[in-house]
């Protein structure tokens, strides 16, 4: 019989709704009846619903209160696991990880410390902020790892994005982790049956090797004029690759602020980001240099910026 204590690991970038989800989780009937220890690593006002905490008297551990540095968090986590295993002996541990945590580090930490045989990950749940996921994914490695290693992904804040953008986020999440359970949500609210049916998939914690990025970001800058029609055609031709675009393009007769989100193009010649062509692009499903070269061709720069 496995006497190890199950752990629910909650990951997701800052603002993705981890705390809201945690509050909802703590309110579920089959969770409420358990003796739980909470480990919180996201700084800020705690955010845990006080009534839920008080009524159930959860032992609550705040890990290093905001530090994002791995070694400080690790040593605190080791002590916390030891204390929980020896003194608290709960039915369940819930960890809300820091926004830039890499799940592999937590998993390998459980193995490194003597907690290995006293704990097991029962589910690894990742919250995704629909409104900002693409931007963060392009710049922050750990966000992709959080999705990749999740057993379930909750695509949160669906109420804050248009359907087109939401569809792209779902497509991205699916590409990163085809086998995880997925659901869209607002305020971190999901059905109890979704939670109950999450099955943990053990993955090796070796995520050190970095495969080529699925999503990438680059900038293009030019002092030359750009043909508007050609530029808009470029966006149309690669609309399935361009996830986000933002900047200013100098079309000669006018300089326009331009934004692409959810395959929708927004042009505004009353607003300027810069006084020359300067765009930031987040894209995927195509070789980065190839797409960059297309932009360089169209924007008229002799060499990449």
């Amino acid at each position: 019989m496995d006497n190890s204590i199950p752990i629910i690991l909650i990951t997701g970038f800052l603002g993705s709704g981890k705390t809201s989800f945690l509050n909802n989780l703590l309110g579920l009937d089959h969770i409420k009846e358990k003796k739980i220890s909470l480990i919180i690593n996201e700084f800020g006002k705690l955010g845990i619903d006080g009534s839920l905490v008080e009524s159930n008297e959860y032992p609550l551990y705040e890990i290093n209160k905001g530090s994002v540095f791995c070694i400080c968090v690790k040593t605190d986590l080791i002590k916390t696991f030891k204390d929980i295993a020896e003194n608290v002996k709960p039915d369940l541990v819930i960890i809300e990880a820091t926004g830039i945590a890499q799940p592999g580090d937590i998993i390998s930490l459980i193995k490194d410390s003597e907690a290995d045989y006293k704990f097991r990950i029962s589910s690894n749940i990742c919250l995704v902020d629909s409104a900002n996921f693409i931007k963060v994914l392009a710049n922050l490695k750990s966000v992709k790892e959080q999705v990749k290693f999740a057993d379930a992904v909750i695509i949160n804040k669906e109420d804050l994005v248009l359907q087109g953008e939401l569809n792209i986020v779902k497509e991205l999440v699916n590409a990163i982790n085809p086998s995880a359970k997925k659901v869209t949500a607002s305020f971190g609210r999901v059905s109890p049956s979704f939670i109950n049916n999450i099955k943990h998939r053990s993955e090796p914690a070796d995520i050190i090797s970095c495969p080529p990025p699925l999503v990438y970001a680059f900038s293009v800058e030019s002092g030359k004029k750009t043909n508007k029609e050609t530029f808009l055609k470029l966006l149309e031709n690669y609309k399935n690759n361009i996830l986000r675009l933002k900047g200013t393009v100098d079309f000669g007769s006018e300089k326009c602020f331009i934004e692409v989100a959810g395959k929708q193009v927004l042009l505004d010649n009353k607003k300027q980001y810069a006084d020359h062509t300067k765009v930031s692009v987040i894209a995927w499903n195509m070789a980065e240099q190839e797409l960059k070269n297309k932009f360089i061709e169209v924007c008229g720069v002799p060499e990449q910026v």
């Binding site: 209160k65 791995c70 050190i208 970095c210 990438y216 970001a217 680059f218």
Partner: protein, 539 residues
């Protein structure tokens, strides 16, 4: 070769007599003094005492003055929360709560905790002139994160120019502090920028390279050496780090050291790392630490390598773990032992030594590396060899060279962990020391006496006279026999009916004589059931 010269030579990729050792002792020194991390990092007196203590215990070639990546952030207006056993954590970000860069306070050598850190730097410099002194500063990208918060990763897309402005500002802060450290006596300025491990190579080139390069150039102009220190999963950026032209890059266990070595060789810079902080230094044994150190040194090679932990040493790291490392750095013999023992790692224990030492002779086993190749082993073997004849055949000695697999298995079976070791009848008796002749003789004699006692106990006899020996005839004859034999045998009279019956003798068959022999089988050790069965069958 003096320590400072050793470190600087390694950084310059010039020859060294051995790998330099630079433990990154930060708030761990608080543990050495018995104070919390907070007390330690807030007191210049404690910091100097802690560094001095660390130098005394760990015998480093170089050491940082302070390892706290929140010093600048605190001066610039970030709130900190303090901990017992960790550096503080930043918990507020002025640039994301309404402040502009122009609103932030000026930073100079008199600001905040920097002033006391610089005072400590000067004291360490003058107190330890032969040591390489490291000044650590928070890298521009990490400092920008402190000032803005995690949303900076989104702003890198939405407002890239503003993010670059913040990073540029942080770079200028870095230059001010670097100069202050150098003016106070630092030899090496380490730019510690762990958050760069979070971004990919393209973002690194855009948001880190121009700024870090500028900083390393500046440090070079001031005549000091520089190190680019990034912990975390940073392998994707190692080449970009080298392209920033630091004199040294330092990494943690998340990146293979051979990968970094090869990249450093390509760019002709030095590199350092990467002792494992948690599994080894914090949670391991001194032997684990030595093994990790030897593996790092073997991989790092002898050009441009500096042995160091992957990051700030955890507060609670046992001091003996760090103390053990210098032994393998300085002593090639110890390194050879560790390398030989490393083969032991996956060995099955094939022998059950539980009853080892039951023979009539006393067996002295000497576990060595190789007495023909190393002096300490040779002396140990000779010490035993020279006294054995005095025991006239009672003592037999054997050498087990752990370079041979069978000897490694034997060593493991006897639970020997250090080389050389002398075991007497399977008991570890002398470890890593050549015993003086008198002590060795005394130890062997003690074992001989012990064996004799056991032998006597094993052969003990009792004679039971069952029934009423009215004339004491039986008693008399038996005692006469015992006297003539010269043995120590007990005579017991058994008269109770039940007791007589328990010997399988009827009362009407008395008087009767029963002779009992005790055969002592074990003391203080619980045998297996199978062993007990064999004993019983044998009787």
């Amino acid at each position: 070769m003096k320590s400072k010269e050793r470190v600087l030579n390694a950084i310059n990729r010039e020859s060294v007599d051995r790998a330099p050792w630079v433990p990154f002792v930060g708030c761990h020194a608080g543990q050495l003094l018995g104070v919390s991390a907070e007390e330690y990092l807030k007191s210049s007196d404690l910091m100097f005492d802690g560094i001095s203590k660390a130098i005394e215990l760990y015998k480093p070639d170089g050491i940082p003055v302070c390892f706290d990546l929140q010093v600048e952030a605190e001066i610039l207006g970030c709130d900190l929360t303090w901990a017992e056993e960790n550096p503080p954590a930043v918990v507020s970000h002025p640039l994301s709560s309404g402040k502009k860069l122009g609103d932030l306070p000026e930073i100079n050598s008199e600001s905040g905790r920097l002033k006391s850190i610089l005072d400590v730097t000067k004291k360490v410099r003058s107190g330890f002139p032969d040591l390489a002194v490291y000044g650590l500063i928070t890298g521009p990208f990490t400092l920008a994160l402190h000032l803005y918060g995690s949303d900076i990763f989104m702003e890198m897309f939405d407002h890239a120019d503003y993010v670059k402005e913040i990073i540029g500002y942080c770079t200028e802060i870095g230059k001010v502090i670097s100069k202050s450290y150098i003016d106070s006596g630092c030899d090496v300025i380490a730019i510690v920028d762990p958050m760069t491990s979070q971004i990919g190579p393209e973002q690194f080139k855009e948001f880190v390279t121009p700024y870090a390069s500028s900083l390393f150039s500046y440090i070079r102009e001031l005549g000091a050496k520089s190190s680019f220190f990034v912990c975390g999963h940073a392998q994707q950026n190692i080449e970009s780090m080298c392209e920033c032209r630091p004199d040294n890059i330092s990494i943690d266990e998340n990146i293979p050291l051979d990968f970094v070595r090869n990249m450093s060789e390509k760019y002709k810079i030095s590199f350092g790392g990467n002792l494992q902080l948690t599994a080894v230094l914090l949670l391991g044994t001194p032997e684990d630490c030595q093994e990790n150190a030897v593996n790092c040194m073997e991989t790092g090679g002898d050009t441009g390598f500096i042995l160091a932990p992957g990051c700030d040493i955890p507060y609670a790291t046992p001091r003996e773990n760090l103390e053990s490392i210098i032994k393998v750095i300085e002593d090639p013999y110890q390194r050879d032992i560790i390398k030989a023992l490393d083969k032991n790692r996956n060995m099955e224990i094939l022998y059950n030594m539980r009853d080892y030492g039951q023979s009539d002779k006393v067996i002295v086993d000497i576990i060595t590396l190789d007495s023909e190749a190393c002096a300490p082993c040779q002396y140990m073997v000779e010490s035993v060899k020279n006294i054995t004849p005095e025991f006239e055949g009672i003592v037999e000695w054997r050498e087990h060279k752990i370079k041979n697999r069978e000897s490694l298995i034997f060593m493991t079976a006897l639970m020997v962990r250090n080389i050389p070791t002398i075991c007497i009848d399977g008991q570890i008796t002398f470890v890593s020391q050549i015993p003086p002749k008198e002590q060795l003789i005394a130890a062997i004699q003690k074992r001989i006496i012990e064996k004799l006692r056991l032998k006597i106990q094993r052969k003990k006899k009792v004679v039971y006279i069952l029934g009423d020996d009215k004339d004491k005839k039986f008693d008399s004859e038996i005692n006469k026999a015992i006297l003539e034999l010269g043995e120590d045998i007990q005579v017991v009279n058994v008269t109770e009916r039940e007791n007589i019956l328990s010997y399988g003798v009827l009362p009407e068959q008395t008087p009767a004589v029963v002779v009992g022999k005790y055969n002592l089988k074990t003391v203080r050790k619980l045998p297996a059931t199978d062993v007990i069965k064999e004993w019983l069958k044998g009787e």
